[in-house]
């Protein structure tokens, strides 16, 4: 469907923020996402969102991914215009540059045949196409350069946003995708140089041998050829200069971070004892031990030689303590059966006990009494005698007399 340019540009002029927002989305857009962008960009004076959505489709600013699909992308020409207006560059991949060089090769072949056959029209057309291709190469390289500058600026502006490793991956992507492969294309024996040499040779041939007489056009092409070659090399060097320092510093930082993370991980897993020998940085620590001086040695020897004899130490042997009271009491108790044996039968056991020398106290008297009464070789019984009183060392007992005899 043919789109009236005036209508198209009127709509674009009224929806600049919306077009920019849509063009910045690199992936496909669902209808819901587009409507969200429409609502976000709409002003109070704007048409209804539904109208905007319909116009986007009618003007083919949004194109469905496939017929009937709910997913859309911004039409390439629109994206290019927006990028151009906002100076938003797209990097050129080495594959695109290689495509240009292949195109240049094909044009060279056509030019060679046209020169051979004196086909002036084809020569003219081929020269125009060569010129166009060379300008595209130059423009695309410029755009790549601008992209890299933007990426470097974005990196510097987003200092806190992402981790060092993530930044490093981004820079590595740029280096590996856009800069390093260009080395193969731009080196002295690479395809760019070869294609340009061939084109230059054909231009000279056209000037010297052909009937084509638009010499200024040939000169313009020759100059452009040389300029593009120099320009490509310069842009490539500039890109490297922009990215290389970032690449180097981020690579180092990234590896440092990896080392530190590995060390901390091992500490968490192994514990400090197993971890330390491999992961801890050693420092020198000399333990300071003084060598004895001559004077000190001399003094020590003199002390030994002049040491006055001393009498042998006398050990103090204290007099033995008397046997403990408890022990003596035990001996007395255990000696009672032997003591009472020869005098059996005893008519009054308590009287016999308190009559012994030294006279026992009340507790010992009762202990001795019990010991003998319950002794297996004796037999005890109460007598008919009246209650008697028995003085002890610390008191007096009153009890009926007990007779003790051998069992």
């Amino acid at each position: 469907m043919r789109i009236p340019p005036q209508t198209f540009f009127h709509f674009c002029a009224a929806h600049v923020p919306l077009l920019r927002a849509l063009a910045e989305v690199p992936a496909e857009l669902s209808e819901a996402e587009v409507r969200r962008h429409i609502r976000a960009a709409a002003g109070p004076e704007d048409e209804l969102p539904e109208t905007t959505w319909r116009r986007l489709n009618e003007l083919q600013i949004l194109v469905p991914v496939e017929p009937g699909s709910d997913f859309y992308f911004v039409a390439d020409p629109v994206r290019r215009v927006v990028a151009y207006l906002f100076d938003e560059a797209q990097p050129t991949t080495p594959e695109i540059i290689r495509g240009y060089l292949q195109s240049l090769d094909a044009l060279d072949r056509r030019l060679a045949r046209a020169i051979e056959g004196d086909d002036l029209t084809t020569v003219r057309l081929a020269l125009e196409e060569i010129q166009q291709t060379l300008r595209r190469i130059a423009a695309d390289l410029d755009e790549t350069h601008r992209c890299i500058l933007a990426e470097v600026a974005r990196y510097k502006a987003e200092r806190q946003a992402v981790s060092v490793r993530e930044k490093f991956r981004r820079i590595v992507h740029w280096m590996e995708r856009y800069v390093d492969p260009m080395v193969d294309i731009l080196r002295p024996d690479g395809p760019l140089r070869a294609a340009f040499i061939e084109t230059d040779r054909l231009l000279r041939r056209a000037r010297e041998n052909g009937l084509f007489n638009d010499l200024p056009a040939l000169d313009r092409n020759s100059r452009l050829l040389r300029w593009v070659e120099r320009h490509a090399l310069r842009v490539f060097r500039q890109c490297r200069l922009e990215l290389q320092p970032l690449y180097e510093s981020l690579r180092r930082a990234s590896f440092m971070a990896a080392g530190a993370a590995a060390a901390l991980d091992r500490l968490a897993r192994d514990g400090p004892d197993r971890w330390a020998p491999e992961h801890v940085l050693q420092v020198c620590a000399l333990r300071w031990q003084h060598v004895p001086s001559d004077a000190a040695l001399d003094r020590a020897l003199r002390n030994v030689a002049e040491h006055p004899p001393e009498p042998a130490p006398v050990l103090a042997f204290p007099d033995e303590d008397p046997a403990p009271a408890a022990y003596q009491r035990r001996l007395w108790l255990e000696g009672l059966p032997e003591a009472v044996g020869p005098v059996l039968p005893v008519d009054d056991l308590l009287g016999w006990l308190v009559g012994r020398n030294p006279r026992p106290n009340t507790a010992d008297t009762l202990a001795g009494f019990s010991h003998l009464v319950f002794h297996p070789v004796f037999r005890a019984r109460f007598t008919e005698a009246p209650v008697a009183r028995y003085p002890t060392a610390d008191g007096e007992l009153e009890a009926p007399p007990v007779r003790l005899s051998a069992s």
């Binding site: 806190q160 510093s249 400090p272």
Partner: protein, 186 residues
């Protein structure tokens, strides 16, 4: 060999593990100007005086020495700082050398993971961190600029070298090796 200037001071510093950097004047200048003479002087004593590529000096530690308790703590402290800087997207060396650190603003207790790692080396609080930084000051790795403020000195590059060595050992740093960059090779 003419008499070496500041020999006693240089030796006293180096033997205790101190790293001589421009903060240690006049000892640093003396060694920097006559490094070979100092190295030759110490060599018969079995002491190797190392000049780091970042231009500071230290005695090469002997293997098998008893490891003081402070060294594992310093290592954990430094690794956490580097890990934090990397996660925050900072270029590590730029961050370490161009920042004045406040003890109570250090990131070491900002994450439970860091706190758990510090507990493994018996560091539980800010007081423990202060002791670590004091130990690093004795080694000549940091300089206090205020009561609780400090900045890192050049010899902290030894920690960076260790990190690169560990990365290489773990296989992460093979690209680094293949590109010819390697940790300091004293």
């Amino acid at each position: 060999m003419t008499e070496l200037p500041h020999l006693r001071e240089v030796f006293e510093l180096l033997r205790s593990g101190h790293h001589l950097s421009p903060e240690d004047e006049p000892a640093f200048s003396a060694v920097a100007s006559r490094h070979d003479d100092y190295a030759a002087y110490f060599a018969p004593l079995g002491l190797r005086l190392v000049r780091h590529p970042q231009d500071f000096f230290y005695f090469e530690p002997e293997g098998g020495e008893t490891m003081p308790q402070t060294l594992p703590r310093i290592a954990v402290f430094a690794y956490i700082l580097i890990d934090h800087a990397a996660n925050a997207g900072r270029v590590i060396e730029d961050y370490v050398f161009n920042t004045t650190f406040l003890l109570d603003r250090l990131p070491h207790f900002s994450l439970d993971r860091y706190a758990a790692l510090l507990r493994q080396v018996e560091v539980d609080d800010l007081g423990g961190l202060r002791l670590i930084v004091k130990s690093m000051e004795r080694l000549g790795w940091v300089k206090f600029t205020g009561e609780d403020e400090f900045r890192f000195l050049r010899p902290i590059h030894r920690v960076f070298d260790k990190c690169l060595e560990l990365a290489r050992r773990s296989g992460t740093g093979t690209q680094l090796e293949s590109s010819g960059e390697s940790p300091a090779n004293p």
